[in-house]
Symmetry: C2
Subunit: 363 residues, 2 copies
């Protein structure tokens, strides 16, 4: 047991991990391509069987007329907002202050598309109907992220979604779904993807989160919308000659995991309970509504790190590879349940959390 081992080192060396589907390594690609013939033709600039078949499958899943594969959600969502802004002749989009567009994209929406943003709701909570009714400036489009990732993956209830959708329709505001983790929230809502998406004019779905592909995204909507999005995809430099490495793996892991979202969701609820028993620990949300949640510690990063390293080394179970400070005596990390969680014996988990609880009490 080396006390100097970093958290990420110790985490990587654990045989069992509560989060994810496994390492992001070349094995992910190789496994997906094992079943693929050498002579499977590549897609060519958005055409060809491999891309068209997957797009049709995703359009059907999402209950939309059409869908297009994008290399990234960043690209797909900027383009969705641009199309709706152009249609209305109003360069303003509204979304949550912790939206991916606001904090992870170097202001692409503003720098590339000249779209101003209206930030809805306080950072700590999800968007309500009232936030949209009380927008200070008119917007062409509202983006809702389900679940709201940066606050632990919280969700509005379904009735709120319906009310927001009706309000936007009535007021000529387009509604776009940041459904990066859409499949992951279906068990909570007890709805199909198409039922959720019917409330939205356009939808983005990520293919490497709950699904666990390599990269890539789907954008879905009306035929006219998707046709326009393909022009913008070309402009963005996203209309690659070949996207099949991502498409084949997205399709493979979709088939493998689409029906496991309920298992991940129950796993998240169970794991959150383990955390919430510990002193100085709370999960956000307290009861997860998807496969994800955040774990907040009222302990400094410096104090927590050696405790976690010791637990990882003694139990062989890894909880997180990083800690993000939220203050001098607080920090957090994100948990997303995937295939790995169920490989951990219940006894092991109890041992981990008993130890964690004791160590935290002792601080």
């Amino acid at each position: 047991m080396s006390e100097n081992k970093t958290l990420i080192q110790a985490f990587k060396e654990t045989a069992l991990k509560t989060n994810g589907h496994g390492n992001r390594d070349a094995g992910v690609l190789k496994e997906a391509f094992d079943r693929i013939d050498y002579d499977m033709e590549s897609d060519m600039y958005g055409s060809g069987k491999v891309i068209e078949a997957f797009q049709e499958k995703m359009a059907k899943l999402l209950g939309k007329e059409s869908a297009v594969f994008f290399p990234s959600g960043t690209m797909a969502q900027q383009i969705a907002l641009r199309i709706w802004c152009d249609e209305k002749g109003l360069n303003r989009a509204a979304y949550h202050p912790l939206s991916h567009l606001e904090i992870h994209e170097e202001d692409g929406i503003k720098e590339l598309h000249g779209i101003e943003t209206v930030l809805l709701a306080e950072k700590e909570r999800v968007i309500t109907l009232e936030d949209i009714q009380n927008m200070k400036q008119e917007a062409a489009v509202v983006l809702l992220e389900l679940p709201q990732r940066e606050i632990g993956g919280q969700l509005p209830d379904f009735e709120t979604l319906q009310a927001i959708s009706a309000y936007c329709k009535e007021h000529g505001i387009k509604l776009h779904l940041d459904g990066a983790r859409l499949l992951e929230v279906l068990p909570f809502y007890r709805k199909t993807a198409a039922e959720i998406c019917s409330l939205f004019d356009s939808v983005y779905l990520s293919l490497y989160k709950g699904i666990g592909g390599i990269a890539g995204a789907i954008l879905a909507g009306s035929e006219a919308f998707i046709k326009a999005s393909k022009v913008w995809k070309r402009r963005h430099g996203g209309d690659l000659i070949s996207l099949y490495p991502y498409i084949v793996s997205a399709d493979y892991y979709y088939d493998l995991r689409a029906d496991k979202m309920e298992q991940y969701y129950y796993g998240a609820k169970e794991l959150a309970e383990h955390y919430n028993i510990c002193e100085k620990v709370s999960t956000l949300p307290q009861v997860p509504v998807s496969n994800m949640f955040h774990v907040h510690y009222e302990v400094s990063k410096e104090d927590l790190e050696p405790i976690l390293v010791e637990i990882y080394e003694n139990t062989g179970v890894g909880l997180s590879g990083y800690l993000r400070e939220t203050g001098d005596t607080s920090c957090y990390y994100e948990v997303s349940i995937g295939d790995l969680y169920e490989t951990i014996p219940e006894e092991k988990l109890k041992e981990v959390f008993n130890t964690l609880n004791e160590k935290l009490k002792a601080i």
Copy 2:
């Protein structure tokens, strides 16, 4: 022999082809990944050994301080021009009227970046020093494409490149190289990639043309330039969580083919001679200066198509899968020599071109 067979069908069924490295199929990826271990770690949003090592290798090849991997050349080049325009505070870039940016990108440079363009030279010829000296409007950056693909892959001589470079430097105009096919022109210039690139402030190299990877591009330049390009890459939605499917294959095929560019170049010169012997046929350029050229026919597409189909079926050699009309009685296609050309026996080629010549004479 079915007379109704389309050109593309007949072409696909030929056992031998004069162009390219082989089919764009999943085998390209599977071959590249055969030598890769399952546990090779993915790159993560531009970091990690697999992407950093390849970027360093390419920076060294191109003689630049730094390089970054992009999913597409479209994205890389728009960003290069944007950086140079921002630096000068002048949103104007100059390039050839048949530049990729002007005809294949749905005006992304204008629509996303608000950059106006100055078109240099007539469509039929390459850019000269005089074109740049006589620009009607000031530009922050000039883009030169080597070779000029849409006119058969023509090149200015090296002295012209040197003169343009010196002029631009003197007049505070940045010079960007569209080197999609840079490696393919090195045998003609008898220069290293770094020697050519030393004349340019920034360079783009494609990884799926002569090299034959799956997709992707390299952008190279100074450290400050590349640092700025990574911010724009994020904005464009090109900073994917994992780009390794393209990087691993680019690296594999680069190693396989970088030293074969001279072979491809000689092949192109030889094949062009075969074409130029035929009546009603001429290649552009007459003597290729890279692995590529265009084949122009003074024959209508309708008349030529059945002739080619018959030749493909009788000889098993495919020349092109398409014909592009240039007038009522003229058409052309593009040839790019790769690994396949040398697999065709000399006797076969003679048979093909004797037949082609006879058939064309008989029209």
